[in-house]
Amino acid sequence: MLTKKSTVGTGVGRRLRSSAARLVGQTMDRRGFLKRSGLGVGAGAIASQLPYNFIGAAEAADAPVAAGAGDTVVRRTVCTHCSVGCAVDAVVKNGVWVRQEPVFDSPINLGAHCAKGASVREHGHGEHRLKYPMKLVDGKYQKISWEEAIEEVGDRLLKIREESGPDAVYWIGSSKHNNEQAYLLRKFVSFWGTNNTDHQARICHSTTVAGVANTWGYGAMTNSYNDMQNAKAMLFIGSNAAEAHPVSLLHILHAKENGAKMIVVDPRFTRTAAKAHQYIRIRSGTDVPFLFGLLYHIFQNGWEDRKYVEDRVFGMEAIREEVLAKWTPDMVEEACGVPEDQMLLAARTMAENRPSTIVWCMGQTQHTIGNAMVRASCILQLALGNIGKAGGGANIFRGHDNVQGATDVGPNPDSLPGYYGLATGSWKHWSNVWGVDYEWVKGRYASQELMEKSGITVSRWIDGVLEDKELIDQPGGKLRAVVYWGHAPNSQTRGAEMVEAMKALDTLVVIDPYPSATASMAAMVRKDGVYLLPAATQFETVGSATASNRSLQWREKVIEPLFESKPDHTIMYAFAKKFGWGEELVKNIKLEKDGHGWDEPNIEDILREINRGTWTIGYSGQSPERLKLHMKNMHTFDVKTLKAQGGPCDGEYFGLPWPCFGTPEMKHPGTPNLYDTSKHVMDGGGNFRANFGVERDGVSLLAGDGSASMGADLQMGYPEFDHLLLKKLGWWGELTDAEKAAAEGKNWKTDPSGGIIRVAMVNHGCHPFGNAKARAVVWNFPDAIPQHREPIYSPRPDMVAKYPTHDDKMKFWRLPTLYKSLQEKVKDISKEYPLVMTSGRLVEYEGGGEETRSNPWLAELQQEMFAEVNPKDANDAGFRNGDYIWVESPTKARLKVRAQVTQRVAPGTVFLPFHFSGWWQGEDMLKFYPEGAAPIVRGEAVNTATTYGYDAVTMMQETKTTLCRVSKA
């Protein structure tokens, strides 16, 4: 039967008509819309002018619009739905986004799109958006003006600041902001005077970033989607790329076609598993035993790369001893349920088909021991000598379109942009870049101690509200206001407690194009004190976004912001003005008037400021001009290497993947694969970073002789560059006088001239961050050698006894955090809740899903929240495919969802997609939504029922292994 939604018009015309009506603020019929949009006559003529293919596209891309084509323009932008970074050509006629064309030229996606990417033009209609600022009055949302909104919200926040200090406000930023907005928000929050800020990366890849950066230097995907074409074997663990990063499969299946072996390790038989040569089902949360189980066979058979390990890895011997003693095949099988022959086959495949790569995503990161799991993955790749090699690497697929960028330069509670941390020196560096006085910034904070202390994480903000005042490690005590700036509430765990926190807040502000999940949850428990501000989408502004492979791409503005929405940076400046430091925020940034007389900070200026400050990770070479040139000349880049062959970008890598060191003038080409010693540093080569000292327990941490990047003057390990090292080496004289003045007393990260970097790299082929060994043993982590520890809610009490979790922590990211005490308390709860509850993605939706569930083209494909249950469990519980069932978790929260009885999950496992919201424990929340802003598809949010559990390093939430029971509804 065809299923119809009454909220959606049945005719083609109706939807367009209504959206068109809003565009012009008056009723307009379809005919009028088509006329206005120019969809009718001449569409063919226009289209033939598009840069339609890569052969001869050079001319086409720059071809002037033919006479008579009207004011049709083609704007190049990038899909906003995942980290692959698929380019999109938007055909805009008279300000209306009328068509979407594939960009065959893009070396990343070659025109390809998944369901989400193929539907982005819907944003040009955006019917279910928040249309104007609103506030909650007596339980109902009412329209207010922007001016009122800024005044009222500003006053409320200032009052809270006055009464409880700046740390009483929590700022949740977004990975959906472009780099410039994310960066500006970190600056904004700093000027507000708090580190209580965070964004999606916390609950996405924070364990990866911490684990990987502590292993070899940078917390990012080492290679690229494209580079996977060079792989001979690929191990996916905790990644369902076919649904989460579908276009990456273009490169992956290409590699497979050319002989690469594909192994998928997952508790669930995913779409990715369907394409694998070997599928291994592990028990959820047992990645460490699995990975060390592979290492066992590798060490047993001598498959490790001895020379590589010797020269470039620290601590592998300790790992070897641990693995051989502890992770014998029987122990592995006991822990993760994989028999020896499967382990051996996988190990052999990875060892005999080098370079082999590993891919992981949230299946590995979202655990209480996520940091250990990702490090086990790193260690496997180090043992095989795969890191720093084309076709190898650790390919960590990020989630949101700009989660990499927001992590790099955006709102993090523990760091200023560029992973500078919060040390005094870092503040001084950034104050200098911002052109403000360090003392003034310090004055904005409650104290210098709080200025240099990591804030609360987004995964725990609810505890910042609900926890006892005395137990919160900040003088002001509890959080009183939360600003949700582009973040979905249903992506954080413990939703049942979240509504309690929302209830307890003084003020809740939501700034988002689609704020309604937060809005409805708040309206369910509150009568007032909630403000909704409509933000523009990334198609309604300009800026750069960093894809998972560290490439930056420039988005052009496709359309003007719809309705009354405003770009995030405009809103930031408006609040800054209200708070009294507007001028400081935009010291180096031009202001431009938008169509409504509001001041809009110039995005390109913001990027230039990022360039001037972010030396650490090489965000310094990607000037707006260079990025735009890349977008225009996509066809000149090679798909396999991402390197331009000829043309204006000759020799550069697409999107100048960071690190793109030095100033833009230095013309560093970007780094396609990190730590690759087979290339010169000025050709994207590198080596492991010296970031952890030069020796440990009497062992040198610097790399062995002969393992430096190609052509380096220093063919041995060396520490990072600073003014002293430069002088010692006798290279100081190669700086210009101006550079000398700037670099005196500085290191490569803080030298504002970039001179140290220039001399090290251009003149001597050396890496400014030194050349050290990667760390297999990370002594500053709770488990220096990754340990398996059972999740807090474990289905196996016997394993809990054997592999208990960490001890409780009292002051951890400003909050007390439970581990062992809670695990002890619930260790037998699996008798009542016998099934493992895990969650994951659907290809049609993204993140919290509010945006994609508002898109009818996508919503039609997934109309209901469901749970995948094995036929055995369904039969035991007495329900059938398609029945409504209750999924109950130990939190007592209940989810009413459709049963999808399927073999995808093994008996004992229940899988739920996490993109739904809008139902609350069986009730449709439609009446709590602002009128007209409810998404088309609503359903239970899995996180309403998820349980307590946080990573011991980064506060990552546990979503992948908890418990539940199911029954027929």
Binding site: M1, L2, T3, H277, E844, E860, L861, Q862, Q863
Partner: protein, 340 residues
């Protein structure tokens, strides 16, 4: 009351009943067979790709089985990749149904014409008395004409859909045909259920007088008097009329109505296979019904003098009653039962 083709009614009826049953039976076990197929196709494919990577032959076999697989697209039978029954339906419909049905609908009227030209109208033997007997009440006539008019509308529009592109398109051209058919389809789809209602009323109104009567045996023995040329005494309805009632009106009428409703209201989850069967039953049933109706119409108008009056005015002359329905006439005269 004799027509040349009514003699064949029993074998025909048997064939039709058997055929309907066979279709129904055939529809069920197919699903069971398919279910068994699913399991093996997954295993076969898993095995096959291990032996010979890239070989998907078991999957392609499963594709053709017509079973429903997984899809997120909602709609009628979206999980089915290939339904091969469609081709069978197409061949039946465009083949035998159209060709034989077409010939039947030409040959039957032709035969009737020939019969009429040879035998002529059956005249009243005696002179009219001028005394009238009520044969059909107002309600009965309402029911009859309601059924008749809706039937004619349905037949015209229905057969325009079946034969229109062969008969009408060459004459009128595609645009006019399309216009006619879209109007015709509306008429057909909305009148159809009405016909069903009249049909039921018809059944209940006339069923009592169409039950078996010993005199029917005589009628059958004497071939309805067609051969002898004399009238066989019969009740309110003779066995010829009863045959029309049971086989034409009731059986074919219901078959056509029910199959029509299956197609007219596709919103009860019926799939293409159901619709295909319904369509064939509908087309075959309607063709036979129309062929029979030609005979009925002939007998009610041209075939027998005075017959039309019965249904137009509701009254017949005593002479007509005596000659055509002697037993009924006597009953009426005896005041036993005027009708029903």
């Amino acid at each position: 009351m004799k027509t040349i083709f009514r003699r064949d009614k029993w074998p025909l009826l048997l064939v039709l009943v058997f055929w309907l049953l066979a279709l129904l039976v055939a529809a069920t076990p197919v699903h069971a067979q398919r279910a068994a197929h699913t399991e093996s196709s997954a295993e076969a494919q898993a095995e096959r790709q291990a032996e010979r990577p890239g070989n998907n032959a078991p999957v392609w076999r499963a594709v053709r089985s017509g079973e429903a697989h997984f899809t997120t697209v909602r709609g009628p039978e979206t999980g089915v990749l290939i339904q091969s029954e469609g081709n069978t339906w197409r061949q039946l419909r465009n083949g035998p149904v159209t060709v034989w049905g077409g010939w039947l609908l030409i040959l039957v009227p032709a035969a009737i014409l020939l019969f009429w030209l040879v035998k002529g109208t059956i005249r009243l033997h005696a002179a009219r008395t001028g005394r009238k007997i009520t044969r059909f009440s107002g309600f009965e006539r309402f029911v009859h004409w309601g059924t008749a008019i809706s039937f004619v509308l349905l037949a015209l529009t229905g057969f325009a859909i079946l034969f229109g592109k062969h008969v009408l398109a060459p004459l009128f051209g595609g645009d006019l045909l399309a216009l006619l058919l879209s109007a015709g389809k509306l008429v057909h789809n909305y009148i159809g259920p009405l016909f069903g209602v009249f049909l039921l009323m018809m059944f209940f109104t006339f069923v009592r007088d169409n039950l078996w009567h010993p005199s029917d045996a005589t009628w059958i023995r004497r071939g309805g008097g067609l051969l002898g040329g004399d009238h066989v005494p019969s009740g309110r309805f003779n066995f010829g009329e009863k045959s029309w009632f049971w086989f034409g009106v009731t059986l074919l009428g219901l078959a056509v109505s029910i199959s029509g409703l299956v197609m007219d209201f596709p919103n009860f989850g019926q799939g293409r296979a159901d619709m295909q069967i319904a369509n064939i039953v509908h087309a075959v049933g309607a063709t036979l019904l129309l062929a029979l109706a030609f005979g009925h119409i002939y007998m009610g108008t041209l075939g027998a003098e005075g017959a039309f009056e019965a249904m137009s005015t509701g009254e017949v002359d005593e002479t007509w009653a005596k000659e055509h329905h002697a037993l009924w006439y006597e009953e009426v005269k005896a005041g036993k039962s005027g009708r029903g």
